[in-house]
């Protein structure tokens, strides 16, 4: 029973780790090669956060 509990908790941890890796890979600095849009989104976000805004609109 305790082995099953530990095993199922480890599966939960693995799910968390894999999700973080997959999503970060899609959003991270290396993701620009896989999609132009995601890179554009990040740039817009940085501009928003710096308080300078964007005059593209």
């Amino acid at each position: 029973m305790s082995r099953q509990l530990i095993g199922s908790l480890l599966v939960a941890l693995a799910i968390v780790a894999v999700t973080i890796v997959v999503v970060t890979a899609k959003l991270g600095p290396n993701a620009e090669e896989s999609g132009e849009d995601s890179g554009k989104n990040r740039t817009e976000q940085r501009e928003d956060n710096s308080g300078k805004g964007s005059d593209e609109d």
Partner: protein, 139 residues
């Protein structure tokens, strides 16, 4: 508050929210499987009902904490997307249903038969809220 959020996320609150929301959604799918095992609808040889429910509870606690963190981040950063209203409505309803589920699990045991329904509602609302924000951001 926004400055604190920017500092904590190193200027990427949207990306951090997306990662945390995706973790929540992935855990919610696992929760669904664990509940199915817990209620005996699925009987794998390697997992019994007891451990499945214990992990379901632990994983659910993690989801609640993440939900509160992401919800606070959403309120702090604000949403200026076209479908922000849909995201806000599903998010608030999700918080309400999760609160009710926690109350039933911890104190209101008489309403225990509602748990499968509440759990399904939480999963559905989590999926809709994720699709309306993180899912779109990732696509």
């Amino acid at each position: 508050m926004e400055d604190l959020l920017d500092t904590l996320t190193r200027g990427n609150p949207l990306a951090v929210k997306t990662v945390l929301a995706s973790v929540m959604f992935a855990l919610a799918i696992y929760q669904l499987i664990l509940a199915t095992v817990g209620y005996g609808k699925l009987r794998p040889r390697f997992l019994e009902s007891g451990p499945a429910f214990l992990t379901h509870r632990a994983s659910g606690d993690v989801i609640v904490v993440l939900l509160l963190v992401v919800g606070a981040m959403c309120l702090a950063t604000g949403e200026d997307e076209d479908d922000a209203a849909f995201h806000a409505v599903t998010g608030w309803v999700l918080l309400g249903v999760v609160t009710l589920k926690v109350i039933v699990v911890r104190w209101w045991h008489g309403a225990g038969r509602l748990l499968p329904l509440l759990g399904s509602a939480v999963f559905l609302l989590l999926g809709l809220t994720w699709l309306g924000s993180a899912g779109e951001y990732l696509s």
